[in-house]
Symmetry: C2
DNA sequence: ACACAATGTGTAATATGTACACGAACCTTG
DNA sequence: CAAGGTTCGTGTACATATTACACATTGTGT
């Protein structure tokens, strides 16, 4: 049984990425604080999905818990990208108000551990509407109002993602179980902000023996149907020479 | 002015690497706890260099402070490799004794942020002897007695180092300002536990325009003297195409 | 002057990266 | 049912990078 007694000065924040076959998106929570008397909106902006850890849970468990609550999914790809303990994390006046409100003066400075989560959009669509949580294109984040240092944390996560995606086959976490090569290419282009030549991209993928063509083809599309592919982690683990770069 | 009031449940631990032109070493602190009455040694093993953070300092500052105290050096390469908050970090009986002793029952579980530090051995040799701190070859760590989860943290740091060294020019942090290509090769071999062909290694380095030959040569060696080289971060920043891999 | 020890260099075969254009398959529309 | 629209899937020539492999050079020490 979990106590739910929080550790006041330690939190986790999750930067959850998703891909809609067009662009990369991030899951953000709408934050709203109303004046208790007149209902006037004091704060309205966005935060990452995060919360204090509980006294009897690991950092990883805390992040899993938050993601489960948000998406209903277990077994999401989840990896730390850093710990942040700047003294001025809560510096804007509005954040101070909020901080007082939720933190009840427990701690001056909260150290937060940032988690990068990658999820397959096709497996989660529903449970989001009933909460104040939604997807935002990563390209729009720069113009958004965000709480605390969450915009900074977001960019830290994005950088970590871009670094890792070149070296480990984690991009597949953002795709459904089977996918076309064009989808894979669009994903890498969205992740890295570049564009690739189709033939060269496919030549590269052909060397990755863990991206395996299926018999299945696309159906009901108004053009030549594409073949579906599969990412096999087993084959990846067995065949990697430590040399493969996912940079195209 | 720093208050020196500690945050009881947050610490940093530094895994400090050095290179002696032969092998990779790590800086460890000897830990000894004696019985207050009869002087009997209760614990004798090794820990990473770490301590609680202070209430009015950042995580990075705490790590810098610890390293400064240990080596007398500022401006050391320092990078987080992870945050660790397992509930059983202090599980062995001896560690519990120690924990009670230094922590005075303040907190049940300490979250520690791991820092990877790379230092140029030639700049620090002195100040270590007067403390219970010394260098150990990384290859011997597996057989050492270590406190808490510090052996685990060490291996986490080593893995992070091996990953990063392939992708960023951080190995140079372990070398003096100028160095020979043989030294550079030995370093990479020590870091990655492999060995390279001399000619191919040098061909690879020749592509790295930020490794610049000096006029200077070795002196007083009983063989053909080697040329010295320099790592230029400026040239690196300017000329990197995002493609260079430090994997040889 | 000779032995010793580490430095510094080239070539050929293979693999990888890059630039670039068009027919094929399926759906939609008139 | 023919024509048009859209995305899929493919090959070649050139430049660059990787790999495997052996010996003369330059200094010191005796």
């Amino acid at each position: 049984m979990i106590s739910h007694k929080i550790v006041p000065n330690i939190s986790v924040d999750c930067v959850v990425f998703g891909f809609d076959f067009e662009k990369l998106n991030v899951l953000l929570v709408e934050r709203e604080l109303k004046d208790e008397k007149n209902g006037e909106i004091l704060i309205s902006d966005h935060t990452l999905a995060g919360y204090h850890i509980f006294e009897d849970e690991d950092l990883d468990s805390a992040a899993s818990r938050i993601l489960k609550g948000l998406t209903g999914l277990d077994n999401i790809f989840l990896e730390q990208f850093g710990a942040y303990g700047q003294l001025d994390r809560v510096s804007a006046p509005k954040d101070k108000v909020w901080f007082e409100h939720i933190n009840k003066g427990f701690a001056d400075r909260v150290v937060t551990v940032g988690y990068l989560a990658l999820i397959d959009n096709t497996k989660v669509t529903l449970r989001l509407k009933d909460r104040n949580v939604s997807w935002f294109p990563v390209t729009t984040v720069s113009e958004m109002e965000m709480a605390f240092d969450h915009k900074f944390l977001f960019y830290e996560a994005l950088q970590a993602l871009q670094r890792k995606v070149k070296v480990e086959p984690i991009a597949f976490e953002l795709l459904p179980d089977y996918f076309t090569l064009s989808q894979l290419q669009k994903l890498y282009e969205a992740l890295l902000g570049t564009s690739f030549d189709k033939r060269n991209f496919r030549k590269k993928v052909a060397q990755m023996h863990y991206v395996i063509p299926l018999k299945k083809k696309q159906q009901g599309v108004a053009h030549k149907p594409a073949q579906y592919y599969l990412f096999s982690r087993e084959v990846y683990e067995k065949t990697r020479k430590g040399r493969i770069s996912f940079i195209i």
